[in-house]
Symmetry: C2
Subunit: 569 residues, 2 copies
């Protein structure tokens, strides 16, 4: 039987025989914890325990330039939000059997499988006889018509499991008229009633463009988005968080907490931890709130305060210096992956370097440096030699400097080292400085989803199913009131156009869902800012420990979410 996990010598082996044999978990062996999660029962918002109907809110606008958004989405602009409410009889349910497609888009985030399971179970419960198809390998699967029917047996081994391997993801975009045509052909051929796009800001923008396209062509295929990204930068009033953020931050925080106890026990290392999040620093901020490091660099603050690399370095050196006075010769420092992108002078340096390098006038004697502006040269000279070399040598196929390859945490260690050496020479500092670098990235994208992410995603999937069944399109599945017990969560949809603004690219307006950055006036940053001085000089480390699925801490929600909802984390 497909739902049979055989117990073999303490390990669970997925002895699953599935046809077609394209299920990546067929050959998987399950750990005891993985196996126990498969049959974990997920609570649902109470609206799914009663008959319900969907009510519409007032017409919506956009996040900016409503007139431009209306031009880009003439058929969808102004759509109201939708909300599921209890009703005497289920007005959504019908005898119609639906054909629904689902696609995972972009980087992995814990919980993606549960969104799919949520859609699947919704259809089983409310539209029996419906079919769910998974497009393989992301949006390319839609364009190429590569899909697979998701059966009960097929989805079973992925329940509450991390990863995106059920149908895999991809980073292709449906952009050109030809690609839209391909997508149109696929969904027409499949006779799809609806499509669920699980992705980040770009993918949801794309989902909305598809919805508009299908509506404009009078096609029956509806499109609903779901908010996914561990970076936590896809959120709004009605979409309180993107899934995966909770799990990823807790995995990183477990590691940071362990490193903190190690720092305190050893008493001689400064650990520089780089964390994922190239655009926004939500992960770094959340991990800081969970663990209380000595120093946390938030990219948005660096940008807003126009800090230079020297400022950032000096701030670190200052704390190290003061800690030494208190007898602490160790510490933990969190750095967002995208730090460099937030420093204007570094951006300037990189653009000048790209020009110089393009001209190819780089001589051994360093005469080429005269082509840099004076201030730019100063920054270049301030960089550690290895980073200078990295900037000069490692370039992408277009000859451009590869900023993404710079190991920011190592760069900071070297700069701090240099400054402290100066102080030593001056006789103002006398301790040894030993920096250790860490990068926590891939470890967090595919962990077993926390109870929160597992439940949240399942509700998102149920919500997406109900929106499609009631004929909605161009909405993003929205589950709200997340500080309350699951039963009290709200379920509905938000007009994707209401999240959009436009950006001018190549002379044209492009619709974009603006990434939600860390707000310096927001509750999470303010809580952090009010405590960081204490964290810097005293040691207020918290070690969250490994994610628990049962017992104390297992239902905790992350600080960012709770603070943004006005609740105490």
């Amino acid at each position: 039987m497909a739902s049979q996990l055989d117990l073999i010598g303490g390990d669970y082996i997925a002895g699953i025989s599935i046809n077609p044999p394209t299920n990546s978990r067929v050959t998987s062996v399950y750990s005891e914890v993985q196996a126990s999660r498969i049959d974990h029962t997920l609570p649902l918002p109470s609206v799914f325990k009663t008959p319900f109907k969907i009510i519409d809110g007032p017409p919506s606008s956009s996040a900016g330039h409503p007139e431009e958004i209306e031009k880009l989405f003439p058929n969808l602009f102004g759509q109201p939000s939708a909300l599921l409410v209890p009703n005497q009889s289920n007005e959504v349910s019908s005898d119609q059997k639906l054909k629904i497609g689902v696609v995972l888009s972009g980087g992995q985030a814990p919980g993606g499988h549960n969104v799919i399971c949520g859609i699947f179970d919704y259809l089983q419960e409310y539209a029996r006889g419906s079919s769910l198809f998974g497009f393989r390998g992301g949006p390319a699967g839609i364009m190429k018509g590569k899909y697979i029917e998701l059966t009960s047996e097929f989805v079973y081994p992925y329940r509450n499991q991390g990863g995106f391997d059920m149908i895999c993801s991809g980073r292709d975009k449906i952009e050109t008229p030809e690609q839209f045509k391909q997508a149109e052909e696929t969904v027409t051929k499949m006779d799809l009633d609806g499509l669920v796009v699980i992705g980040g800001d770009d993918s949801n923008t794309n989902a909305c463009l598809l919805a508009e396209h299908f509506r404009a062509k009078n096609m029956k295929t509806l499109v609903i988005g779901c908010p996914k990204t561990i970076d936590g930068d896809l959120k709004s009033k009605e979409v309180p968080t993107s899934f995966g953020f909770d799990t990823a931050c807790k995995i990183y925080s477990e590691m940071i907490g362990n490193v903190m106890i190690d720092a305190r026990s050893t008493g001689k290392y400064y650990h520089f931890v780089r964390l994922m999040g190239r655009a926004a620093s939500h992960i770094t901020l959340e991990c800081a709130l969970q663990t209380h490091p000595n120093i946390t660099i938030i990219g948005e603050e660096v940008f807003e305060k126009k800090l230079t690399l020297k400022n950032v370095t000096d701030n670190i050196v200052d704390v190290i210096y003061k800690r030494a006075e208190n007898g602490y010769n160790y510490g933990v420092i969190l750095v967002p992956e995208g730090l460099i992108d937030f420093i204007p002078e570094v951006q300037q340096l990189i653009s000048e370097l790209n020009e110089v390098l393009a001209e190819g006038n780089v001589d051994e004697e360093g005469q080429w440096k005269k082509n840099l502006k004076k201030e730019t040269l100063e920054i270049f000279e301030f960089l550690p030699q290895t980073i200078q070399e990295q900037l000069m040598l490692e370039r992408d196929p277009h000859g451009n400097v590869q900023v993404a390859k710079i190991e920011t945490e190592k760069m900071l260690i070297q700069m701090v080292e240099t400054e402290l050496e100066k102080k030593k020479t001056e006789g103002t500092y006398e301790r040894e400085f030993m920096g250790k670098s860490h990068f926590f990235g891939y470890e967090g994208r595919c962990g077993l989803p926390t109870n929160f992410d597992a439940t949240y995603c399942y509700a998102l999937g149920y919500g997406a199913g109900s929106l499609l069944q009631s004929g909605k399109t161009g909405l993003i599945s929205s589950v709200g009131n997340l500080a309350a017990p699951v039963e009290e969560w709200t379920v509905g949809g938000t007009a994707l156009t209401s999240l959009m603004d436009v950006e001018r690219r190549h002379g044209k307006f492009k619709p974009v869902i603006k990434k939600a950055m860390v707000e310096l006036e927001g509750a999470p940053f303010k809580k952090f800012a009010s405590q960081r001085e204490e964290w810097a000089l005293k040691n207020r480390y918290i070690s969250p420990g490994p994610i628990q699925f049962k017992g104390p801490g297992s239902d905790a929600r992350n600080h960012t979410l709770m603070l943004e909802l006005g609740a105490q984390a």
Copy 2:
């Protein structure tokens, strides 16, 4: 009240007022999981639930050169093992109040605090009114007479917690006659009845030398060792495992499992994971058994089979090539930190480089290379350029090449890349190869101990207390029958001299406890070897998930231990 953790807004804050205020956890904030662990009740072997006595086994010998060991330990050599057995009345207990010292030596390992709590609770239960003193900062604390009295309030916040921060550790050794004299003075001044040394192979050798010294001087201070090291290389028939290994391997395996799911979901990266373990590859082997990676390099096998760096690289390239034929363009590869130390030709290279560099005849044109032997030069040329540079540039204060600084996993990625590029040029391989490097190290040394490590350490502490109370010295606390339920675990002590051999250093015999290496004929390696081909080409990934303290998987013991005990893991 000292034992009161106040619940503040979802977090637990240790609102503990302790005198003297030298407790690192006074200023700590506890996570919910940490807090829940403090009051976790630990089961004890059943011998501690009844009156007991200690019985001696037959006289012991040594692991090698018994005549030399006897000369070095004339007062201790040949001591029998001790075993606690139930008895009509407790023959060990007495009215005597004991003064006991405890010291943590060397690197952190999860569970150290529980050993101390075990000793403390033993004394409370069986020798009421006794005192326990913690030497601060490792063996240096003994020499300098730096210690603190461990009270009930003091130890409380460390129960079941990771780290060594209760009294901290250190890497100093008590070696010279003067240092022995200092230690002697401290314990005499403190009027210590016993000392527990918690450490690895070196520290336990040192403990035995102290025991011999004290005995030779007719001092009353007894010395008992405890087996600590995440590396898992301190073990013997009677000491089945060192504490911390279980937790560290499970933390690393959680991360590896997550990276595996990521690799399978993304489908385009080869993840090279370097793991702690400079001398022996037990951690790497255990993590392989827990997670089933595509390739695992075991240092001991590389050494035994006299593999060259080229062989190791070719093996990896071969698997990547075959996987590509199966349609898999991704994978996970585990590498022990100490790999390079196991490759004889690299050792040769390093020693020649050290000589060349010492002479200082390194010219820009590379004429210096002529001073290397032909085969040595070949190896040097085979190394990626960045590694060549690292070898030439980064040297320790003595001018020696710093092998420890080489990031082995990055080196392997570069070598594999180079070989695959060659194949591409030849037209025999056409896929992209993208390697990602990881180092899992500090994250594993200070995590919350698993249920196994927490319980094992507590029993080791209880055992150490009972051995001291019954007048034993020069033994290592030994808890056995670990595959059985905790109640059936055996408790006793093993003569430290029985674990020893001698090494000749500077013309003198030095006693050493030989590090236990991975045995190619041992059950763990054999199980691995019998399955690795399947793991290489098919995907049998297991993702163990985060360590659980309750529910499924929470009482699992590691594979190495269970296989060595002849039980199924």
